[in-house]
């Protein structure tokens, strides 16, 4: 195999594996902020038990997230040297900002979050929890800004020619607020909230079904359900806005997402389907002219199709992009249906009466994960053959000095290590979940300044 294929497989593999964890950290961080906040307000130790329990789970997801995150930063230099030279002037400031503002914040306070329970007062601990959560939110900002710049470059000019061409920054804020960054950042954040909320829903649904920690679980379930309802609905608005942006900025990507080839025809919107790239046909169920309507408010209006682009400027894997995109949308709809139905039952006071629904929630943890992954695959494969849209081709972005054998070696290395990591992750999660939150009840008594803290709140 050639270097390009191997390097692409390696990047896709390492980043897809990495992306299991940061969304969980962001989402669980939000839940932990709610739980500790609830504890500080009410002084009710049940919330602290929950906060401690979820902090222990968070430690595992965060640890693996950090360990697998540095890999991509290094891969830019090792496998994608030409790309690094090309975008370094622009990409670099986003990465540097990520390191300084986000990683240092979250990793600095992580020590206090995990080990500081008996060392600092509950309020300082709460601040540390917020610090870690904000750090994880910020890290999404800068990395999404950098990736969005690759989708919709702005605030730059090109210096040099041929092999020495580089993008140089001309306007920092135009780079940061490039046309797609805000939509995509919100999309990523809310996707992460869903990943975290559905993990909490899954674990506590399981406890309720097994008749363990029932009272604690009901409280946590409701907090997570609240986050899930708001997030799944918000995702519709954000997703729509994001799709409009793609239509405007990267029409070839949108055309691939819906399998639309003919520029003179109205574009359909499919629920499911299969793209036959040879014959330029889509077999599936959907709304004829739906995409035209969504973009132009008219079912008959033509939409720019793949054929409007030269052969070598179209994404290749049209059917894969189509499938990934539609899996994401379908899951989004399922998540809305699930959370709204559960919300309705909650309102009727019957939330925990239906075991079959709780079983669905136990397994639904996998859905936001799949949606996050497929969404990114659609976004990144839809940008091909460009690594920086319209400027730099993926095939030109490689390291010239690196051979296929070197890339193959590191690919196998990461494959083995990540298989081990995944096994460890699942094993530890299972162990911690089986262990449950209750053991902490005794230990919480050790905490310094505890009584003083809840009293001051009551006096207010």
């Amino acid at each position: 195999m050639d270097v390009e294929i191997l390097a692409r497989i390696q990047f896709a593999f390492t980043i897809a594996f990495h992306y299991i964890y940061p969304p969980l950290s962001i989402g669980l961080g939000l839940v932990m902020v709610f739980l500790e906040g609830a504890y500080l307000r009410t002084g009710d130790k049940a919330y602290e038990q929950l906060a401690r329990f979820w902090t222990r789970i968070f430690a595992v997801t965060f640890g693996i997230g950090v360990a697998t995150g540095i890999v991509m930063e290094f891969e830019f230099g090792t496998n994608w040297a030409t790309y690094s030279r090309y975008v370094g002037d622009i990409f670099g400031s986003a990465l540097a900002a990520e390191g300084i503002f986000a990683f240092a914040l979250e990793s600095g306070f992580l020590g206090i979050l995990l080990f500081g329970w008996n060392r600092v007062s509950p309020r300082v601990h709460f601040i540390a929890t917020i610090g870690v959560w904000l750090g994880s939110m910020f890290s999404a900002v800068w990395i999404v800004v950098a990736n969005s710049w690759q989708q919709t470059p702005a605030g730059y000019h090109i210096v040099g020619e041929g092999i020495n061409a580089r993008a140089e920054i001309t306007d920092f804020w135009a780079m940061v607020f490039n046309p797609s960054s805000v939509d995509r950042l919100l999309h990523v954040w809310v996707g992460a909230f869903l990943a975290g909320a559905f993990l909490v829903l899954s674990v506590h649904a399981y406890y309720i079904l097994k008749n363990r920690h029932v009272e604690l679980s009901k409280r946590a379930f409701k907090i997570a359900l609240g986050i899930a309802i708001v997030s799944s609905l918000a995702q519709v608005v954000i997703g729509h806005s994001s799709a409009e942006g793609v239509a405007h900025n990267q029409p070839a990507k949108l055309a691939a997402m819906e399998g639309h080839f003919d520029t003179l025809a109205p574009a359909h919107m499919y629920a499911i389907g299969w793209v036959d790239k040879e014959n330029q046909e889509v077999t599936g169920i959907g709304l004829p002219g739906g995409l035209s309507f969504l973009l132009h408010g008219d079912f008959k209006e033509p939409v720019m199709g793949l054929n409007a682009f030269p052969e070598d400027e179209r994404p290749g894997a049209v059917n894969a992009i189509f499938q990934f995109y539609h899996i994401m949308i379908a899951i989004g709809m399922i998540l809305i249906a699930l959370s709204l139905y559960a919300g309705w039952l909650w309102w009727r006071g019957k939330l925990f009466d239906k075991p079959w629904l709780l079983w669905i929630f136990v397994w639904a943890v996998i859905l936001p994960q799949v949606a996050n992954q497929t969404g990114w695959f659609a976004a990144e494969m839809g940008r091909q053959p460009w690594v920086v849209y319209g400027l730099l081709r993926t095939s030109d972005a490689l390291s010239k000095a690196v051979t296929a054998n070197q890339v193959l070696f590191s690919l196998i290395l990461f494959f083995i290590i990540y298989a081990l990591l995944l096994a460890l992750f699942l094993y530890m999660m299972n162990k911690k979940i089986q262990h449950g939150p209750t053991v902490d009840a005794k230990l919480i008594e050790h905490r310094p300044q505890q009584e003083g803290m809840s009293n001051t709140w009551k006096q207010k």
Partner: protein, 344 residues
């Protein structure tokens, strides 16, 4: 060319990157050193205390490397591309060991089985040793330069990173970190473990002084270009002199049992060593052994002035923040290690 305090932007960014890597070496240096000693501690309780001495801080320390990598990418993208693609295998191994170290710390104490703990103890210690050596190996290659050709592409053999100077520097780095880590552990322990660490500390000081002497002699004999700068500007000799004094001060303070001050001086030694590296190289970043016209310098490898200006602003805002919460975390976990239910 825009300047600030009389220094042009690439020079300023060179100092920023140097400062970050110096911070990384001081902070993660003691984690790696403590990890390298891990298997020398035999009792389960001693190992747990040593592990928890770095427990709450190692992750924050490792982040300095992420920031350093980002700073290098941001300020000197051409260097980043050339260095990482030329040193492909060392960097990939570095990543693998970095993951193994993180996982070992995280999972070691999660099960009671003997084989479980033993396995993670070994991976933790081996990873720490290998990470220290690999850092030195990359530094050794940067100092003596490697085969950089046209368009700043590596034209040498992928195995060339293994050479005598790189290996000497690898072990010197390991020795420095082991001394630094032993000092850190003596500050964090008490009782019989403390006595044991004092013994290990003495050995590590001897190991380091021998390695440092070897590096100095080898550099003067076989990599003479590195001492040119000192011949041009004799007042710079103050830095090697300060480095020697700082090193000599460590055994003196240890014999007086002033471990905290000794730790400070081993941190200073780390800094001074990197200052020597910076003086020897500046303004070159990596010399080309093919032809000096292909040398990577802070000027031909730098990002645009506009970009450097933005990043200097980011660094100026970010640095006080990072330093203040780093200080806060270390202050929170000051004193001897006490194991509790949240410990590793």
């Amino acid at each position: 060319m825009a300047t600030f305090l009389g220094l042009d932007y690439p020079t300023l960014w060179f100092l920023v990157v140097g400062g970050i890597f110096s911070g990384y070496a001081i902070l993660d240096g003691f984690d790696l050193g403590a990890g390298a000693w891990h298997l020398f501690l035999k009792k389960e309780k001693s190992r747990r205390i040593a592990l928890n001495a770095v427990g709450p801080v190692w992750d924050g320390n490792e982040v300095w490397l992420v920031i350093g990598g980002g700073a290098l990418f941001a300020g000197f993208p051409i260097l980043y591309a050339t260095l990482f693609s030329s040193m492909y295998i060392p960097f990939m191994l570095f990543l693998a060991f970095l993951i193994f170290r993180a996982v070992s710390i995280e999972f070691r104490s999660k099960e009671e089985m003997k084989w479980w703990k033993k396995t993670w103890d070994i991976t933790y210690s081996v990873s720490s040793v290998m990470l220290s050596i690999l850092l030195g190996v990359v530094l050794g290659n940067v100092l003596q330069g490697f085969e950089i050709g046209e368009n700043y592409e590596f034209v040498g053999n992928w195995l060339n990173f293994i050479n005598p100077y790189a290996i000497i520097l690898g072990f010197t780095t390991l020795a420095l970190f082991m001394m630094h880590g032993a000092l850190y552990l003596t500050m964090k322990t008490e009782g019989r473990l403390f006595d044991k660490l004092r013994l290990l500390l003495r050995r590590s000081i001897i190991f380091f002084i021998l390695m440092f002497a070897l590096t100095t002699i080898y550099t003067l004999l076989y990599v003479p270009a590195l001492s040119d700068r000192f011949k041009e500007l004799p007042f710079l000799f103050i830095f090697p002199v300060l480095t020697f004094l700082s090193i000599a001060n460590i055994p003196r303070l240890v014999s007086k049992e002033r471990y905290r001050t000794a730790f400070l001086f081993s941190a200073l030694t780390v800094s001074f060593s990197l200052i020597l590296v910076a003086i020897e190289l500046y303004p070159v970043l990596i010399p080309s052994t093919v032809d000096p016209i292909y040398d990577l310098t802070i000027y031909n490898a730098a990002a645009s002035e506009k970009s450097l200006g933005i990043m200097l602003t980011i660094a100026a805002i970010g640095a006080p923040l990072v330093l203040s919460y780093t200080a806060f975390v270390f202050w929170t976990f000051r004193g001897k290690v006490k194991l509790d239910e949240t410990s590793y």
